[in-house]
């Protein structure tokens, strides 16, 4: 298990270096510069770019960037008066992460319930209902769901605060909106997987040995249905924790998600790299966790890894 994890860690590091390099060079292809103001004369722009070292040869700029990155310095934002990117991330990430975690918990619980109902009452009305809800949840995009939920549940019915992030109560509606898709995905996968596992010989054997149906579902079926679920959930969690453009914008929540898009639009180089690296670290970490989780859920994977 240890060497398996170590190997994964080395892999993760290499991937991050590749991502950092690729992002940086791709960024150079972005048209324009962080200083695009129309009132900026070409002379003034040259002066400013010299001031920020943007006129140095590309390789010099790249080396400087990698050295800083290695020291954990993401640089200063161009759009926010030279504020360190790390500071901006530290201010905003907790907000997005909180929202994402809450949505994850809600979504997974809701999804498992729906999925189990669907599987054990296969082809019943409840199953169709659950399937209908799941399809709805997957197919309604956030940019429709978020404003609708906000308009009806907050503005019209007054059940929730409509926007901002001032108390736990403010986080409930956006979390529910974010959790719908997760619940739908989890429900669909749980149902499909459970149905498949239910048809396995060992389930029949377990029943033949006299185990109660319920025990079979809880002990064997659910656990063995989890593997594909982990494959879906873990990257989804990484995406959620690092913020979401639509929900943060609609509910006026100061998270990190909408800053990512914004920084690309305005050529804020350090913010682009900073947020991209943040997402990458989360994704790489999530795959690491996923691999380890596989090992826990299905010991065969762990063994195979160990042998490598």
């Amino acid at each position: 298990m240890f060497s398996y994890t170590l190997k994964r860690l080395v892999n993760a590091f290499v991937i991050l270096v590749v991502i950092a390099t690729a992002t940086w060079f791709l960024m150079q292809l972005l048209p324009g510069s962080p200083f695009n103001d129309q009132k900026l004369t070409p002379e003034a722009r040259a002066q400013i770019e010299a001031e920020y070292g943007l006129d140095d040869p590309l390789l010099v700029q790249y080396a400087r960037y990698m050295v800083n990155l290695a020291q954990g310095d993401l640089g200063n934002s161009y759009q926010y008066s030279g504020k360190p990117v790390m500071e901006i991330i530290l201010e905003r990430l907790p907000v997005s992460a909180f929202l994402g975690t809450q949505a994850m918990v809600l979504g997974v619980i809701g999804g498992l319930l729906l999925g189990v109902i669907g599987a054990v009452r296969h082809n019943s009305l409840a199953d169709s209902g659950a399937a209908f809800l799941a399809v709805l949840g997957v197919s309604i995009p956030d940019f429709v769901l978020a404003p609708l939920a906000q308009y009806w549940l907050a503005f019209q019915l007054g059940l929730f605060p409509p926007a901002f992030f001032e108390s736990w109560w403010h986080s409930v509606l956006p979390s529910i909106v974010l959790s719908i898709e997760i619940a739908a995905v989890v429900a669909t996968f749980t149902r499909t997987e459970m149905l498949e596992v239910l048809s396995q010989d060992y389930v029949t054997l377990a029943r033949a040995k006299g185990l109660s149906k319920v025990a079979v579902v809880a002990r064997h079926v659910l656990r063995n249905s989890m593997i594909p679920l982990i494959t879906i959930i873990v990257p989804l969690a990484a995406a959620l924790l690092t913020g979401t453009l639509i929900v943060e914008t609609v509910f006026a929540i100061p998270g990190i998600g909408e800053q990512f898009v914004r920084s690309i639009q305005v050529n804020d180089y350090s913010m682009i790299v900073g947020t991209t690296m943040l997402f990458s670290v989360f994704f790489v970490a999530s795959y690491l966790i996923q691999d380890i989780l596989y090992g826990i859920v299905d010991p065969r994977i762990r063994v195979a890894g160990h042998r490598e």
Binding site: G32, Q38, Q79, S81, Q102, P162, S167, P254, N267
Partner: protein, 562 residues
């Protein structure tokens, strides 16, 4: 499948095992949420008393983060809005947009119109109690033009102040800049040219003061948030900062010289980026004012809470005179007259913008006598498109071939609509096929400045000060902002002459003679004058938007009958 026949109620609740399992699962989940709630306390914004809270607070929507609080670096609307409400320039715009003495008691202008001597008010203080001195203004202005500051808008000072351009270009020195402080209360500035709008410029955020001692003491932290900045304006910032996502709070400044005339105790600047959310929050009473965009303008046009004003901003197309086909006057004229601006503003933009038939917008108020510049000259582009086809055909004949021209647009959805509209109009009115090329706004600007374009509808120009010159000097042959490569001796002579002319009447006459040259020569293609529209609550009185510098100005605001 045996399991299919199991009754679900039994699965979920019928046996101890399953109940325990599900309870465990839900329990863990709930515990998780509860834990999050506790751990999450830090992530929530301290309730700012925002929302509808407080009858003496105004809730406004900044719509975006503050980008700069350092007045030497700011370039965007929200930074300007915060700065104009927390700082005091030598002059401030009044509700009629006229510059009135603010930090200065007044100014004395020398006979040649070049030297301005400002006298500061007695007893003015920074928010930390320090006196505001003339050195604070000199220091801040020099900081703007210091090449090391890399201020994007430095031209707004160095174009006017003697010695500043040289210092900014790295050729002169700070001492060579003609800003003197004979004593703590006197500031003397000598200008390059006669600029009757200079008093108004001193109300622009770039001209706000900074205290050297404080700036140096804060170092890199200076003007990063509410606690690393001192203020001398009507309000002080008590919460918020650069890039911060929460509410910015401005509280009344007890050290402000004119605090008796500041009625609102507190302004909450919220950040709501989604315009529909903002409109709903306005309806719900959580915002006291909100902007309207696109088709929402027409929807609320008749509401008593509606406001609208045409900005001193002209959107226009540029024609690159380095392109052989565009050296032909008839081709240029055909392009200039070839589309119906009324349809453009009423059906395509439909946001309250007005059709433009000249360069200097109607919102620029100076002009000959009682008239504005625009009133005096009227429209300079024919409103009728019927002559355009003949011009185009004549041009094609003179060129000996039909030119293949490309029009550059930015990739926003409204620009795409405008692009298709203009393309269609040229096809219909000229019989000409022009190609559309789209790019990001930033890349478009860069290409236009490099003159890598033929016809560009990428941008417009907003006035920096209330004078036709802020538009007319763009087309000087040596202006770094002239992207058309067009040069005209008479035009240069008139504009340069107006810059040196001390007599306001003669100066105006020169500019009045100059602007029509742009249209005789069909140098550019006016599209529309943009508009700002929105809604505000009836109890929000004294709403004073400014066309120049920061806006709105809450010094004049009050809340009555809420």
């Amino acid at each position: 499948m045996a399991i299919k026949r199991v009754r679900p109620s039994k699965v979920l609740l019928g046996t101890q095992l399953s109940r325990r399992d599900f309870l465990k699962m839900s329990g863990t989940g709930l515990a998780g949420v509860a834990l999050l709630g506790t751990a999450g306390c830090g992530v929530f914004e301290q309730s700012s008393g925002g929302g509808s809270g407080g009858g003496d607070a105004l809730n406004v929507n900044f719509a975006t983060e503050i980008h700069y609080l350092d007045s030497a670096l700011a370039t965007d609307e929200i930074s300007f809005q915060v700065l104009v409400n927390t700082m005091e320039g030598l002059y401030r715009l009044d509700p009629d947009q006229k510059p009135v003495p603010a930090a200065a008691e007044g100014a004395e202008v020398s006979d040649d119109g070049l030297t301005y001597t400002f006298t500061l008010r007695d007893g003015m203080q920074w928010s930390n109690g320090d006196p505001v001195t003339s050195q604070d203004y000199r220091y801040a202005w020099l900081k703007v033009v210091n090449p090391d500051t890399a201020s994007e808008y430095s031209a707004l000072i160095y174009t006017f102040v003697q010695g500043a351009a040289e210092y900014n270009a790295g050729e002169g020195s700070a001492e060579g800049v003609a800003i003197e402080t004979p004593d703590d209360k006197t500031l003397r500035v000598t200008l390059v040219s006669k600029s009757p709008f200079f008093l108004q410029l001193t109300s622009f955020p770039l001209y706000f003061p900074q205290q050297q001692k404080y700036v140096e003491q804060q170092g890199d932290d200076y003007a990063q948030d509410a606690d690393t900045l001192i203020y001398n304006g009507p309000y002080v910032m008590t919460q918020g900062g650069v890039g911060a996502g929460g509410t910015t709070v401005l509280g009344k400044n007890d050290h402000y010289w004119d605090k008796a005339n500041v009625a609102v105790q507190r302004i909450n600047g919220r950040i709501v980026k989604d315009t529909d959310t903002a409109l709903n929050l306005y309806e719900a009473g959580e915002l006291d004012i909100t902007g309207l965009f696109g088709d929402k303008v027409a929807k609320y046009e008749d509401s008593p809470q509606f406001y609208r004003r045409v900005e001193p901003t002209t959107f226009y197309g540029e024609l690159n005179h380095d392109v052989p086909a565009l050296t032909n006057l008839n081709i240029r004229r055909a392009l200039m007259t070839g589309f119906d601006r009324k349809i453009l503003t009423e059906q395509i933009l439909a946001d309250g913008s007005e059709p433009a038939y000249a360069l200097v917008p109607p919102a620029i108020t100076p002009g000959p006598g009682d008239q504005t510049f625009r009133q005096a000259l009227g429209d300079l582009v024919p409103t009728d498109t019927s002559g355009a086809r003949q011009l185009w055909e004549q041009g094609v004949e003179e060129l000996g071939e039909t030119p293949r021209l490309k029009m550059l647009f930015d990739d926003s959805s409204i620009s795409r609509d405008i692009a298709t509209f203009i393309q269609g109009q040229y096809k219909e009115n000229l019989g000409a096929d022009l190609e559309i090329e789209t790019t990001t706004f930033e890349a478009g600007l860069a290409r236009v400045q490099k003159k890598d374009y033929q016809v560009s509808f990428v941008s417009g120009w907003g006035a920096d000060y209330n004078d036709p010159m802020t538009f007319l000097d763009l087309f000087l042959s040596d202006s770094p902002l002239n992207n058309t490569s067009w040069a005209n001796e008479r035009y240069d002579e008139l504009i340069n002459g107006a810059m040196q002319e001390g007599d306001q009447h003669k100066r105006m006459q020169m500019m009045l003679e100059a602007e029509p040259i742009l249209f005789d020569e069909a140098v550019m293609i006016p599209e529309y004058y943009s508009t700002a529209a929105g809604r505000k609550k009836p109890y929000f009185k004294g709403f004073v938007p400014h066309d120049f510098g920061g806006s709105p100005d809450f010094k004049y605001a009050s809340i009555e009958g809420k």
